[in-house]
Point group: C2
Chain length 122, copies 2
């Protein structure tokens, strides 16, 4: 599900037990440093806003950030809110499963609404 | 092995079959957005220089970037040069092993020297 889109980037929800968003550039670039500098700056700002809003709203144990793109060579940044009781912690979400995660998180709708209010100030 | 250090950050080699560096802030912060903004900006610049220098020197298939800190809640950014023939590609380095990696890479010494020349221009 795409929750935000403009000419430069869009934000997509990654379906998961944890709060997990992905920021994609609208134009496809393979590597982060292939982006024009103003677009890189904007992407970092969006990433930081998502981190701050996740910290406030979801109060996770830790934020995880990743930009791989090995399967899909189109620059995108993952921002994930991690919890001690999620299925993989302290491993990355791509690591070995540690347990059956049991999370009781607040509804995402209000989070998206608050996030987009902040994104719109960019 | 630490290859660079100043008052703001240091760069450490992560021992691996692939070129893999970690950038740590000298002062410990838990989350990226806990860093003062000028320090965040500097960290991103260092990350971008490492990516650009890895692309030039090692000609990898893809650069991977990650900031987790679940085991060690001290902000650090991983920058990894990935190859189709490394042990995990296209999985992240934390994922499921795909094969016995067989890489023939140029010596790291010259890479570090070239990288530090660039870092010193910051």
């Amino acid at each position: 599900m795409i929750i935000y889109k403009n000419n430069d980037f869009y934000i997509e929800v990654h379906e998961s037990e944890i709060p997990w968003l992905k920021i994609f550039t609208t134009t496809q670039y393979k590597e982060l440093t292939h982006l024009p500098k103003p677009l890189r700056k904007k992407l970092y700002e969006v990433m930081e806003i998502i981190e701050e809003e996740m910290l406030k709203y979801y109060k996770p144990e830790k934020i995880n950030i990743a930009a791989f793109g090995n399967y899909l060579p189109h620059v995108h940044i993952h921002v994930m809110a991690r919890y001690k009781k999620d299925s993989y912690f302290p491993e990355p979400m791509w690591g070995k499963k540690q347990r059956e995660g049991l999370l009781d998180l607040p509804a995402a709708d209000l989070f998206y609404a608050q996030l987009l209010t902040k994104i719109n100030t960019l």
